[in-house]
């Protein structure tokens, strides 16, 4: 099955729950099989699958609870953020610490980081998956990275939350 492991990983990150993640993946394949006629050849199959999963998540009970709209996203100037403090030595941060930090991020930030770094999606693919313009992909990604850095700075390793 194409994308099975990846979709499940992504679903777990979104829901933080095994049973919910399994239901989401199952629903995604069911919808994909049913709606295959609506898939247009030439468009991105992977983005289409992730989009189905994500829409199913957003309309689920957990999804409705955890997603809050991001304020002022499109008006944000990428350059206006100033220099990023490079104070966290990322190379020395453990996998656990990064996972905990990702768990702490708002779901919109978590999902875009996963699509970009784990799934290695292009900006275009992320724009298709998240149904937002490429400019918004760039600003959201930049904000997500800053937010992750901030969480990592706040919670030095070995220190309980």
């Amino acid at each position: 099955m194409p994308l099975f492991e990846q979709l499940y990983n992504f679903a777990r990150w979104l829901t933080h729950d095994t049973a919910e993640a399994e239901d989401l993946v199952q629903e995604t394949y069911a919808k994909a099989l049913r709606g295959f006629s609506s898939f247009q050849t030439g468009t991105n199959f992977r983005a289409w699958m992730y989009r189905i999963l994500r829409n199913a998540f957003l309309s689920s009970k957990t999804g409705l609870k955890v997603t809050v709209p991001l304020a002022d996203e499109d008006s944000e100037q990428l350059a206006a953020d100033g220099p990023t403090p490079e104070s966290v030595l990322i190379a020395q941060v453990s996998r656990d610490a990064v996972q905990r930090a990702l768990d702490h991020l708002p779901v919109h930030f978590r999902e875009i980081l996963l699509l970009c770094e784990v799934e290695e999606m292009s900006y275009q693919e992320m724009a298709e998956t998240l149904a937002i313009p490429i400019g918004t992909v760039m600003s959201r990604l930049s904000r997500a990275r800053k937010a992750l850095r901030k969480v990592l700075e706040q919670k030095p390793e070995g220190k309980p939350e």
Partner: protein, 250 residues
């Protein structure tokens, strides 16, 4: 372009989203600007950490069965409509071809990551205050220095009569495997030669065709159980000339 302007493009650069010409001029800038090179390296490390941390959950076997049954059930129902008999194999074929394409793409991405890691090691060494740990142009000094520091030995070429100069060497790591990094100079350009045991990650990118990544030229080959990578911002011909000298010596 000033550093400040480049900093705004850092994300797009490390995500591979800059146009080739712009990425090339950013690479050129980074070779002269240690601060931008360090910032880019930091972003790349962040990307890697998230990529590593993000692969966290694996589906159980029963979910796979459930979903396989789901598509099988549709298939059975589908046979009541004669035209769907044709649709199912077509769909299966499409899914298979998509999986294959995706897999090939992943392999390519994996290769790309290794090349960019080598390019990173090269840039990091040059940006460092001490690019080499053994500073010598004498191959008879450099080679013995590695003894006991890495689990293999190698031969270095005589450079007299060539345009290349040996600057020195250091121990380096690629995918947790220790290896040697030698730095050569050619007309003010530095070239890194990496030597690793031909196993694990180093072999995984077995494609030995010359390569171009992040405006660096690269050539690699296997010899006596070792894999050599030659990386630098000189022309592919120059990279090839140095590769040939090393091959003949090994």
């Amino acid at each position: 372009m000033s550093c400040e302007n480049w900093r705004d493009k850092l994300d797009a650069y490390v995500d591979g989203e800059l146009a080739p010409a712009e990425a090339a001029s950013f690479s050129t800038h980074m070779r002269q600007c240690a601060a931008c090179a360090a910032a880019a390296l930091d972003r790349v490390q962040m990307k890697r950490s998230v990529a590593l941390a993000g692969r966290r959950y694996e589906p159980g076997a029963d979910l796979r069965t459930r979903i396989t049954n789901l598509s099988a059930a549709r298939q059975r129902r589908g046979f009541s409509d004669p035209w769907k008999v044709l649709l199912i194999p077509a769909l299966a074929l499409l899914l298979i071809s998509l999986s294959v394409k995706w897999y090939v793409g992943r392999e390519a991405a994996h290769r790309e990551r290794l090349y960019s890691e080598l390019a990173d090691l090269h840039v990091t060494a040059l940006a460092s205050a001490t690019p080499v740990d053994v500073l010598s142009s004498d191959r008879h000094t450099v080679k013995p220095w590695f003894e006991g520091k890495i689990p293999f030995s190698f031969n270095l070429p005589e450079l007299q009569g060539t345009e290349f100069t040996l600057l020195g060497g250091k121990v380096t790591y690629l995918a947790q495997t220790p290896g040697a990094q030698l730095i050569y100079q050619l007309r003010k350009h530095e070239i890194s030669v990496f030597i690793f045991p031909d196993q694990g990650e180093a072999t995984a990118i077995a494609a030995s065709s010359p390569h171009r990544a992040l405006s660096f030229n690269e050539e690699n080959w296997t010899q006596n159980g070792l894999r050599y990578f030659v990386v630098g911002d000189v022309s592919a011909d120059d990279i090839h000339a140095l590769s040939k000298l090393l091959r003949d010596a090994g």
